[in-house]
Amino acid sequence: MTQSEQSAAPGAAQALLRLLGQVDRRLRLNQTISSALILAGLVLLALSAWRLLAVFNRAAPVASALVALLALLAATGLLFLLGHGLLTHRRGLGRAAAQADRRAGLQDELLSALHFVRGPHGPWTDAQIERAARRAQRLEPARLARLHVPARVLVPLAALAVLLAVAWRLEPMTASVDQAALGAGTDLTPEEQAQVRALQALLAQAPDTPSARTLRQALETLEQRDAADADKRRALAQAQEAAEQSKLDAASAREGMYQLGQRLRAQAGMEEVAQALTQGDARKAAELLERAAGLPAGERGAGAPAAGAAQPAREKDLEKLLQEAAQAGGKGDADALSSSAAMKEAVDRLNQIASELEVQGTVGNSSKLLQQLQLSVAQRSTMSASRFAQQAAQNSTPGSESGDTVMPGGKMFRSGAVAQESERSEQQEGSKSGDAQGESVADPLLGAKATPLEVQLKQEALPQPAEPEEKAGEAWFYAESKEQKSALEARAVQARAAFAQAETTPPAAIAVRHRHTVKEYFMNLREGAK
């Protein structure tokens, strides 16, 4: 208390200041309680968050992240409340006087009196102080400043207490759910494990071809517990592609045999072989050829080479061998040795084709199983609906048997594909399955062989040869106008934007304006393959 406070109306001023001091102490106590409760709230929040994170653990990453985020937000809110209370809380008798005036409905009487006590005095101010002091003596500090906790502190605190109680009762989630939710390594169900084992049994009988190797790797990836879903999906996609490729190879081989059979039909002594070839039965054709040549039966098994050893035989034309064998069959003993060698080589080649077809059939049969696995893995993962639909959709490659192509929009029949050709081609001889015979590049929708859209667009952007009219004016020097320059710059910007958009567009959703370009690109590729 200052000297001036004591000098004027001392008794009244004392009474007034005593009351205001008591009110001020209670207000400070209220503020301290609020701060302590906010700190307690922070502790409760930390405990609740810790408990909830322990409950969710790795089983529900989204829920865990949500808990962490909400805890962070709530902590920020509580800290804001704490800081706001500490920073805006004004201490002193002035605030106590204002508070007491408000609570008692005194219309600034105590506040004014406090200022009059501290300021210069006169009869009017002394009278006012005395009045205020008389009123102050009738007031109870406990009623003016009740000890209470504000609702803005009490409500969050109660909510946090309830949350902690609930969180404490929750049981931690199980490990299996844990892994499935995390997506780090999704365990296969017993049915899926059976499918994988069946596939492995199929592949154990097949020779070591690239398709078979890809499939084996995919199955190994599927069996790995720590492999991520994304890796499994990628491995399955590659395996699916290998299976499709295998189908294409088989179709190509059958088509080749059919054509060969057609051409050999006219050869004397080769009618049965030609018929077997036309039917696509390489094994039977080899047996017939063996029988016609009178080769010992023991050589037939030896004549079936492994896929690796058969590689040089591919270089020779089977048709030529068969024609040589047929011609030698009609000649004398002098040529018997050479005809026997040619016949033997032809039989070996046919046996090799038959083995390859069997392997390809085995791998091709695994396609459905792979597709089922793909579906189940994709359904468990957090893949987007569009991406899932894209992966689950059938590959848009021509079927090995019919040459028809099942596409998302429907089915493209072989006859339709043939009708689209502008020029006659070798493959047009009754089918468009030349593409399906492996002469074209792998399907671009999935797999490593797909050419990125970026490259396709660059190829599309290759400069066209100059027009004859332009050549005539080559001697002229043209300076681009500002308009041309700005137009070119604008086009460059537009092209970049379009390119960026095309880059970000998923493969299955090629932008409408690029579809024609992509189609043209593939058509050109096929033309080039001829």
Partner: protein
């Protein structure tokens, strides 16, 4: 002066005020707020601008007040051909008994305690400014001489918001000279009954003169003696500053609709009006509530609105209500 004397003075003030109000209420019905407003201006040494549609009793109210107060009353009907000399007076040539001629100042109607300037906006600006100058200076200059006006000098100007054709709106600087601008609204149905009963009888109600010149001057001194605490003064200043669009205390509505805010005279009017209000509430101190109760009357004519306010039909009262709502009381 002892505390007891102060209390007695306050009691006397309230009693005088009550007597005047009761006496005026015998004639004027349903206008208690305006009666209090006019009396507040009289006791705060200010002048009043009364605005209202024709026929709602503006002139009657002032005439009744003049009858109740034992003061010299004059009425000036403002017309376009009214000249300044018609208000303040003129110098005339007089001949004394000896036959000598000399110039003599003939006092105009402004030399009264209570001046009713009826329809002030019908006179030309030149005539208006003659009155407004006298209001500000409390004296009249004519013929090279200054003639002080007798106290209390209290001007009640009336203004009709309709029939604006052929009128001269008071400039903002001259509006600022008025302590309060009171709006007289249409009386409610109950009040209309009383008005008809009182004014259609054979005899009009008669009022008595209850307050003399000395008592009024004493009441004026009493009103000025009420102390104001610094935080309350700060609240009045905050309110004034909140009406200035360029001030950092300005509200959003002020920034949008106000061209110029209230002058310091506005703050003075707030404090003085609040002092009278505090005395009427038997308090020795001014509260924020006192300031709020007089804020509209004290500030509404001191705020200059911009075109947006005209376009959006926002008036000064709406802006002031927003300011009163947003400016925080001292803590």
């Amino acid at each position: 002066m002892s505390t007891v004397a102060v209390d007695r003075q306050i009691e006397q003030f309230r009693e005088n005020f009550r007597v005047v109000r009761d006496e005026v209420s015998r004639v004027i019905v349903g206008n208690d707020r305006n009666i209090v407003g006019i009396m507040t201006c009289l006791l705060a040494r200010g002048h009043v601008l009364l605005e209202g549609i024709p026929g709602i009793g503006k002139t009657k109210l002032v005439q009744t007040l003049a009858d109740v107060l034992h003061l010299k009353f004059s009425r000036i009907q403002f017309t376009p051909d009214l000249m300044p000399g018609d208000i303040i007076g003129t110098t005339v040539v007089r001949e004394d008994e000896a036959g000598r001629k000399h110039m003599q100042f003939q006092r105009g109607p402004i030399f009264a305690n209570l001046v009713l300037a009826d329809e002030i906006n019908r006179a030309t600006p030149k005539t208006q400014s003659a009155l407004l100058e006298a209001m500000q200076e409390n004296s009249v200059s004519a013929g090279g001489q200054t003639h002080p006006l007798e106290q209390p000098f209290f001007v009640l100007a009336t203004m009709n918001p309709l029939e604006m054709e052929g009128t001269y709106m008071l400039p903002e600087a001259q509006l600022d000279r008025f302590f309060f601008k009171l709006k007289m609204g249409f009386p409610p149905a109950d009040a209309l009954h009383d008005i008809i009963e009182r004014t259609t009888r054979a005899q009009d109600p008669v009022v008595e003169r209850v307050l003399g010149q000395g008592q009024i001057l004493e009441m004026r001194d009493t009103a000025r003696s009420v102390p104001v605490a610094r935080p309350i003064q700060q609240y009045a200043i905050d309110l004034t500053l909140a009406t200035h669009p360029e001030s950092e205390r300005a509200t959003e509505m002020t920034r949008k609709y106000v061209r110029f805010g209230s002058s310091p005279r506005g703050t003075q009017a707030l404090i003085l009006g609040a002092k009278v209000n505090a005395l009427l509430s038997d308090r020795l101190h001014v509260s924020c509530e006192d300031i709020r109760s007089v804020a509209l009357d004290a500030l509404r004519h001191r705020i200059l609105l911009n075109f947006d306010a005209e376009a959006d039909k926002v008036d000064a009262d709406a802006i002031l209500s927003d300011v009163l709502h947003r400016v925080k009381e001292p803590e």
